[in-house]
Point group: D2
Chain length 307, copies 4
């Protein structure tokens, strides 16, 4: 099939390549001319603008946005919606919030355009192994899009999970689970590293567990790769960023009344990893000094925080 | 190779079968004559007692205990140790506590017997797919045992992780990770089940995620199997037993100073699942009534707990 | 001083009484004529409408809303704002969200009205012991209001904590702390109740700890009261409602990157207390059955949930 | 009454002073002659050894050990028990583990000596405000001891909570609650410190809340004291020691099947406060790099940990 791709960063670029490799025609656009040029060299049709891209498609047009979520996606969504016509399909593959996707679906529906929210998992491995695709869409739009999904995903790796909004919702929960799984392995390997009677080979154990244990998983295979390079992760800083979907998952849990002890533990562990000085811990230390006379660990003069 | 197996329950029986299928000679003993008979019918050499079993082996004898941990294993360990000779190898494949295994290794060493602690993962799937084996042993004992390990495990699925004690330690941590992974999926699927705009097909999503998503794992494949049978788990009771290794993991974390927020959350969720009436929640409800006049949910007369 | 009170439920009624008892003039209004009548009998000036109430005040008018947060407060705020004039003071004493209060302050400022958000703690004990008042306001508005605050609070029990919005913010955090403290006592008393060697007298211990222990607090005094009535809380159901401020606190923590392990644990424990059947626990039970063959606790036919 | 005190550190010294001030005769012994001399100057009878101290008492002798728990207490317990006679009372006021106390009670009973375990709360404030005393004892021993308890405690601040062992058990749970309360305040004040619209005065808020709010407590009064000295705790290090009773509480919870989400959260937060580099966080960072290509925060060359 023929479709348009807006956003040629790592994800959008690799997805375009995977589509091209499977015989699809992809019209591509990005603010970066270099990115457009690179894809054109790989066989894509370059476009000079959103309008130009839309003009190179024919009804029902399929346009996939693969941009950072938030204002960038919002602005491209508006521009794309204005350029599309009744019966066209507009896909958002970003990690957008599912409530925003529900709203965009309504705005698109007013113009007769089918909005599709595609949760995409696979990261840097997707080009080679395929992307896992969680699709929120009307049945019609899903049908139009399916040939592309088949090429993007590994066998069985895409599904129509529900109406618009549910694709991003399912992806959000997927990422929440991912946080807690990473925390599970993190706690376990930290415990192994603290074994008192021998220095255990963490890489060997990670690799071993990938072969037939109950905890085998793809994340564990990646842990084995990371530990192979540096078995005690000696030069990795214990600083964990988050791109927001774990937060959204916990926010949803709080709103929906779903207990999320493990997912929130993982999220809060990330927050803690980024703190140089926890105020909660300062207060606990100060209280122990107040009631029990326990010594305070005072900061050396030079290291005090500047307010 | 030729080895003895004491304990022919599901695990010991299946492991004997897998060894027989790969050409080993297995001398078997169990208190249940029926269990011994069944294995004999499958090609094993039956023994009438521990002594009889030991008499059917030749030096260096290899004897594998596959019994419930605790007093049963302790008693069989003592009996077996008395019957073995210098240079023999005595394996405990139970979920024994690693500190007990360290101690047993010392007791065995005094008699010149090599003690091996084998952490075994694989459950009911092990017969077909192989067991994941985490071996704590001296290098000599590991060498003697390796042919059997090779047959029991899938490719790459066994390893010598350290001296005696470390096999059960690594298995304990494995199970701790397993608890937290189960909690991760549990929270995620509960969140999916609460999606406000549509009834999501939990089986479809579980199966989908097994194909290329970041959270794919063997546990997720099992979740897909369970949800295929009963997509809302309508007739499964929310009551989760524990066989003790998650507790041990948390106890170890507390002793070793390793934060275990996610693993302990999973453990405490199991405890909560078994409570009909949390006293902590009763007190919280009573306090809200005391300070805020919030209504108490009183139990109907007939349902009050009998003290 | 003279001020108007809109909302004569338990909180607004008791606060009016406390103000009257200290010599203030209070003009009162409520949709319930009975409530207005009761306060009039206690010395208040009855009003028949918001307009009538405003007409009975003189500049700078002070009008206190003591209504359920959400739509009721929003609607009364709009009506009151329309009736007030430049330089008047409009107080919201509800448990409103601090972001709404920030916004209302801006709307009021456009009409020259001072908006004040008053976090009020004290519950059913406030009439007798005084209310703890956390005031977000401009310095001018705080000055106008202070005589009333002095009467409402116990000695030292009110403060100007910052600009509009901060009063409700501080109250929200106060309630988050309250959740975690209740959970702290709940876990402790549940542990005491499980002492294996004797049945400990929980009322005696609660009362004892109120006299000089490190954990003494007002909540502990209330726990002692509750346990005095019913030492095992035999007829209190383990079902804990929440009125939303604990949720807001966790939502804020997630947004602000503040780890909230204990407060979220308390919130999630409340959620769990209200579940008859945790889906996360169902899935964990099903998974144990899948990988280990562990028996499921199936629900008796008659008790299965209706989907 | 007349009693012996062994151990004249801060706790034992202050308790002896409080007993002397209320008219009791106290025979004191400590390895430090200076400590004995200081108490003698304050009116106590000095002893040169445990035997000498016992010789200065008359039946039924009352001997109070106020020493560090563990080997020091164990050794003094053995020595004291040997020196005492049938009907005497031997008190351990240390933070000993309750299971040790149960065992010591049995050993003492074999010699006809009453063992008493006294949980003591009050810290550096006890001398002035009195100690909160949780007494595990036989009724006879409690009766003998009561005059001293009455002097040591504030009004109502001592109680006979059960048989030997229960005193230290109740104290252990008391400290577990204390951990979670400290965490509750810690999270709350950290949240206040992060308020986005103004720098809130944490000392003012702590002090305010002590006057009539639902979260008022003695710990909050101490927080107000600490924040008065240094409102942002700028020179307190976020490093929280633990003296072991929080760990014991969680270990007990795990053994007894009591969910301890908040208390364990507080314990794990202390562990985290002492880590410079969490291995769990390192692994999470490494995994994000593996699956998503997210940048690693590598340590500068000079700061890498030495293995």
């Amino acid at each position: 099939m023929r479709l348009g791709m807006i956003g040629l960063g790592r994800m959008g670029g690799d997805m375009s390549r995977r589509l091209l490799a499977d015989g699809h025609e992809v019209v591509v656009y990005d603010l970066s001319e270099a990115a457009v040029g690179a894809l054109a060299a790989a066989g894509a049709h370059p476009a000079r603008s959103v309008e130009d891209l839309v003009a190179q498609l024919s009804a029902p047009r399929v346009l996939w946005l693969m941009l950072p979520s938030g204002t960038v996606t919002e602005s491209a969504f508006g521009e794309a919606l204005a350029a599309l016509s009744e019966g066209d399909v507009l896909v958002d593959g970003a990690n957008s919030h599912w409530k925003d996707s529900c709203e965009r679906a309504e705005r698109a529906a007013k113009r007769g355009v089918h909005f599709v929210d595609a949760g995409v998992s696979g990261g840097v491995w997707g080009l080679r192994e395929g992307y896992n695709l969680m699709i929120g869409a009307s049945p019609e739009a899903f049908g139009v899009l399916e040939p592309a999904l088949k090429s993007l995903a590994p066998a069985g790796g895409y599904a129509h999970v529900g109406p618009a909004g549910s694709g991003h919702f399912v992806k959000m929960i997927h990422n929440g689970i991912e946080y807690a799984m990473m925390q599970a392995y993190g706690e376990g390997f930290e415990a192994l590293a603290a074994y008192p009677h021998a220095e255990l080979d963490l890489h060997q154990i990670a690799r071993l567990w990938t072969r037939g244990s109950v905890v085998r998983s793809w994340l564990l295979e990646l842990a084995a790769r990371a530990l192979e390079k540096d078995v005690r992760l000696a030069d990795v800083r214990a600083y964990v960023d988050d791109s927001g979907m774990g937060r959204w998952t916990v926010l949803y849990g709080v709103e929906a009344g779903v207990p999320m002890a493990a997912i929130s533990a993982a999220l809060f562990a990330r927050f803690s990893s980024r703190q140089t000085d926890s105020f909660a811990a300062k207060l606990a230390a100060a209280l122990r000094n107040e009631f029990g006379g326990h010594a305070l660990h005072r900061l050396p003069e030079g290291e005090r925080e500047v307010e």
